[in-house]
Amino acid sequence: MGLNELYARWLDVATKAGFAISLCAFLVYAGGLLPAFVPLEELPRYWALPVHRFIEVTGAPQGWAWLGELAYGDGLNLAAIALLGLVTPACYARLVPALVAERDWPQAALAAGQLVVLLVAASGLAG
């Protein structure tokens, strides 16, 4: 299997799963099956505010704090969004050993470097 096909296969499965999870999470949120951290009816009062004011007024989570809000509909949706942010790192994690097996050292080093950048960004340590 070529590199393009390998990456395409992983990407295909991950994005379809991401779509399904996002759709379910949003139906739970918009359908009111779980309470929202910021109630949907009140959201129009705040969504025109800059992000720092929005957080001040609503107490919405920053950093990894959304992990503690998974019992809320909006917290659950942030988790679904975060999963989409992990699709590319997952595909790269599969790509690096494939490039090493091909002994394509320059591209393997680039892919490994990219994986480190993605994981540092996801950690929030540099943001």
């Binding site: 949003f26 969004i81 942010g85």
Partner: protein, 285 residues
């Protein structure tokens, strides 16, 4: 109906519809969609630009992730071409996303408009590169930045390779930084850089641009998430719409003649840029 008086549920439905339409056009134009989404939603919807930029980045990420598999399988996106450019672009985009939060909104809108119109005019003025007679440079050969792709619309197979690899890397550093500031995903300049500077065929440039955006935005998206700038009611309907639309766009790209793709890119960018500029200058808010 007054915008402020509209019930909340109108907005996710409208976002889904707009995102679906932009998703189709964005893949054909190789622009990811943030460059269309941010000015359109920023001007027609009631959300603050901070949330629109965050959603724009996630929008472009979701659309390009979704379009990636069909583009890779059709040979219209090259993973080897994407790997070096994405690494430079994602580091720069991450830095740009941090800078973007410190710039006033009106200034961001104005600069965004000027930038998009400028790039649209650049694409209009310059002819597409001839990718048939390109000599690969040493770095391009080392990284094997080459491939073969069959263009069903033109009925030809193209054996391609790129050149000016170092200049290309520098360009993608600059593009990534600016894209991170505006939450655009950087697709607005990827196609001219890949096609005009590095001589990748137009459709390979368009397809690889999408894949590049999916990698670059994956790092910048975390900045917005950690800053609390992703509002689920804005982001999720947008990504659901674009994921469906971009799948359709990826299938249409192979059958669409390259000149039509080029004209589409120019028209869409002029419209989006004009709207952002008028809003930034307070002419039509």
């Amino acid at each position: 109906m007054e915008v402020a008086a509209a019930p909340w549920w109108i907005w996710p439905i409208a976002l889904f519809a707009v995102s679906f339409a932009i998703g189709i056009v964005a893949v054909l134009a190789g622009v990811g969609g943030g460059v269309l989404f941010v000015p359109i939603v920023g001007s027609l919807f009631p959300f603050h630009l901070d949330f629109v930029r965050g959603a724009g980045l996630m929008f472009a990420l979701a659309g390009t992730l979704s379009a990636g598999p069909p583009l890779l399988r059709a040979g219209m996106a090259s993973l080897r071409l994407v790997l070096p450019l994405a690494l430079v672009g994602s580091i720069a985009s991450f830095a740009g996303a941090l800078v973007g939060f410190a710039v006033p909104t009106e200034l961001l809108q104005t600069l965004l408009g000027v930038l998009i119109i400028g790039i649209a005019l650049l694409i209009w003025r310059l002819r597409a590169a001839d990718s048939a007679n390109v000599e690969a440079d040493a770095l391009g050969e080392l990284l094997r930045l080459e491939g073969e792709f069959h263009d069903p619309a033109a009925g030809v197979s193209i054996d391609w390779r790129t050149h000016r690899t170092l200049l290309g890397l520098a360009a993608f550093g600059a593009i990534g930084f600016v894209g991170g500031i505006f939450g655009l995903g950087a697709g607005f300049a990827n196609v001219p850089a890949l096609n005009l500077l590095m001589a990748a065929p137009l459709k390979v440039a368009v397809g690889s641009s999408g894949l590049l955006i999916s990698v670059i935005n994956s790092s910048a998206a975390w900045v917005y998430l950690h800053r609390g700038a992703l509002l689920p009611l804005v982001v999720v309907p947008s990504i659901l719409g674009v994921m469906l639309g971009s799948r359709i766009g990826a299938r249409l790209l192979g059958a669409t003649p390259a000149p039509v793709v080029r004209r589409l890119v120019i028209v869409v960018m002029l419209l989006a840029g004009g709207r952002a500029l008028s809003r930034g200058l307070g002419i039509w808010v």
